[in-house]
């Protein structure tokens, strides 16, 4: 079975969350029981493992997109209640089983044991449950932050990779959803927002499954970049465009029903050196700039002028060995706005 990239990302996150759970479980015991206890460490690790695993399942597979439908307060209350019940059950049972194996008692004997009852009422039980709840909130919070920053960017921010501007070679594609602005004019901003949200959600998988990084959305414009080798392998960068197109075709009926129009995309692709850097003191953003970015944007502008949906520069095509079904059609030497020399551009079509 071949996993889609989104599924792989989810599984990796689940493993990470679970590992963090185990570490925090052990850390708790270190802080509360000290370093010479042994059994508490086992219980701490096991509780962390189970709690981490259940948080992963809940966050990654159950509280997903539908969660947006209820208000924040309700979602928070619901989640807190579920987690509270879940964690109480987990910790309770882990401690019981730890005692069963350690003291050679039966389940019922443990429940009737006075030291166990003392642990529940006066001991650390409550604090352990609260600690695990806080862990769940922190996981939630970090995941949101990381999404906000973009793929892999949280780590870059933390380590300051782009604090000073860095030159990198990249393949850059600008994609515009043609005609979607009519939606804004006719049905208003709420409907346009809903459309963009639906669209970007749908194309997430094809956009990143071929090694691309979604850099940003600027209203109806999406910017994707690839490190050179990732973009070239399997003609990934070009295929991404066709993958997105196929997906749109599959969902045409949905878009027609919800928004009364079929999205169409235009794209410009180019390659060259870009500058990646953190910009801004108060609000920091990782920006990709440089001549390559401007040129790609101008190539996209040419799509409308030349009446071609997908335009590529000569530079990127020379690096690629295209499969037979993908054809290039020269549109000639074009003088792009703000450029001194003209550039050879090619329309790209898939004849499959």
């Amino acid at each position: 079975m071949k996993l889609s990239i989104i599924q792989r990302v989810k599984i990796i996150s689940a493993v990470q969350i679970t590992i963090v759970g185990v570490v925090l479980g052990i850390a708790f015991i270190f802080f509360s029981y000290g370093s010479d206890a042994f059994y508490p460490y086992v219980s701490g690790a096991v509780s962390g493992l189970i709690a981490g695993f259940s948080i992963s399942i809940l966050e990654l597979y159950i509280f997903t997109r539908g969660a947006k439908k209820i208000t924040f307060i309700w979602l928070l209350t619901l989640k807190s209640a579920i987690y509270l019940i879940l964690f109480s059950t987990i910790i309770f049972n882990v401690v019981v089983f730890s005692r069963i194996s350690r003291l050679n008692m039966s389940y019922l004997e443990v429940l009737n044991d006075t030291t166990f009852q003392y642990y529940l009422t006066h001991g650390l039980f409550k604090i352990e449950v609260i600690y695990t709840l806080i862990f769940a909130y922190v996981i939630n919070f970090t995941r949101m932050m990381s999404r906000k920053m973009g793929q892999g960017m949280l780590a870059n921010y933390i380590t300051g990779t782009y604090y000073k501007p860095v030159h990198e070679a990249r393949i850059v594609m600008f994609i515009r959803i043609v005609g979607s602005r009519k939606l804004l004019d006719k049905q208003g901003p709420l409907s346009f927002h809903r459309f963009l949200n639906n669209f970007y959600f749908d194309v997430s998988n094809p956009a990143i499954s071929r090694g691309g990084v979604i850099h940003e959305y600027v209203e109806d414009l999406m910017v994707i970049t690839w490190p050179i080798n990732k973009g070239l392998v399997n003609v990934n960068c070009i295929q991404t465009y066709f993958d997105i197109q196929k997906l749109i075709k599959l969902k045409t009926e949905k878009y027609n029903r919800l928004f009364g129009f079929e999205p169409r995309i235009q794209a410009g692709i180019h390659t060259g050196a870009v500058v990646i850097s953190e910009i801004g003191e108060v609000k920091t953003q990782i920006v990709i700039s440089g001549d390559t970015m401007n040129t790609t944007s101008r190539i996209l502008d040419q799509c409308g002028v030349q009446k071609v949906d997908f335009l590529a520069s000569d530079q990127i095509l020379r690096m690629l060995g295209l499969p037979k079904n993908i054809h290039t059609i020269p549109v000639g030497e074009i003088k792009l706005k703000g450029k001194l020399e003209s550039m050879a551009l090619y329309g790209i079509k898939d004849f499959n």
Partner: protein, 357 residues
């Protein structure tokens, strides 16, 4: 150095945002300080007092280092060096402060003097036979979490993280906002002359120099796109004291003051054009793997179009007349009618320019 610290101390009281951050950090520090003894020792009054003092003093030290001092050379250190430096700094701090606090409270408890307590072996007992190492580890982990969260919230900018925590934009909402689009003039020429990296530094410096005039007038930086910055205000905040207009004039004079610096370093001095408008936007999250809070509305396109017309009307500032109507400009300003801005599929927008008399 001393003067600099004094100035930033004063700023701490002037800039409400930093003061708020300082209070939040100290509040959380207090809670974490109290949490440890309740976790570990139950309700022993002495250790609760210790936790309280260490929590407050520790977070106070963090506030002093990270917010008040915020030393520039540290910000330019490589990440690994920075982590090493801070680990050493905070370890030394906690290792020296915690025994002092504990000895003080315990000597009080035992009705002896501080010196007698230390000489009597009490300190030795605490350092080597109790939970001293655990307290140090706990303090360092808390400090790391503090610094991480504070840095992230700074990077996300102006209340974004807070809005997240309270779920402000969990569901979309409609807001009436004033928008300002700022675009660097002659960017193509400058970029071609400076080359990619130098141009990037130039832009960074430009953004750095105009930031103060944005935040001191309560503007929120929405995003940077190429050589353009988008700033917005809630309607009320932007109109108050003509905050939104002040941003333009203050940024302009800030750049004029640094003109020589720019000429010496880059050979170009930046100037910018600005377009103003207001309107309703939908504020909400967009995207899945990469998600963004975005403003969606016609006003975004309109304001961009207004800014583009600056060149045509030979001015650096254009304001939609409908926004001017709401502004109570002082008599120091001249208002100059300029004409209309064409918008595709929509009615043209009358605009005016303003300047200082």
């Amino acid at each position: 150095m001393g003067l600099k610290i004094l100035i930033s101390m004063r700023n701490l009281f002037r800039y409400t945002k930093k003061t708020k951050d300082a209070f939040i950090i100290m509040g959380v520090g207090l809670v974490l300080g109290l949490l440890y003894p309740t976790l570990n020792k139950g309700d022993n009054l002495g250790s609760v007092i210790n936790g309280f003092i260490i929590g407050v003093v520790g977070s106070g030290f963090i506030v002093f280092n990270e917010i008040v001092l915020n030393v520039k050379f540290l910000r330019q250190l490589k990440f690994k060096a920075l982590v090493l430096f801070k680990t050493v700094l905070y370890s030394v701090f906690f290792i020296s402060i915690i025994p002092i606090v504990v000895s003080l409270t315990r000597s009080r408890e035992q009705n002896t003097s501080f010196i007698e307590y230390v000489n009597g072996g009490g300190l030795h007992q605490f350092l080597f036979h109790e939970d001293f190492h655990i307290i140090i580890a706990y303090s360092l982990v808390s400090t790391a979490v503090f610094i991480f969260t504070y840095q992230m919230s700074k990077k996300m900018g102006q209340g974004v993280m807070w809005n997240f925590i309270i779920g402000k934009y969990h569901q979309t909402r409609e807001e009436k906002r004033i928008f300002l689009f700022i675009d660097l003039n002659n960017s193509t020429t400058i970029a071609q002359n400076l080359g990619d990296i130098e141009y990037n530094k130039f832009l960074k410096q430009f953004y750095f120099d105009i930031t103060d005039s944005i935040i001191s007038n309560y503007g929120k930086i929405y995003r940077y796109v190429g050589d353009e910055v988008v700033i917005s205000w809630r309607m009320k905040k932007g109109l108050e004291n003509t905050n939104c207009i002040n941003t333009y004039f203050q940024a302009k004079s800030a750049l004029e003051k640094k003109r020589e610096y720019y000429m010496n370093h880059f050979g170009f001095a930046p100037s910018f054009s600005a377009g103003y408008n207001y309107g309703k936007v939908i504020v909400g999250e967009i995207g899945d793997i990469k998600s963004q809070i975005s403003f969606i509305g016609k006003v975004m396109y309109n304001t961009a179009a207004i800014e583009k017309y600056c060149k045509k009307y030979d001015t650096n500032i254009l304001i939609a007349d409908k926004l001017l109507k709401h502004l109570k400009l002082s008599s120091n300003y001249n208002i100059i009618k300029k004409g209309e801005v064409e918008i595709t599929n929509s009615t043209p927008i009358p605009v005016s320019s303003i300047n200082l008399k």
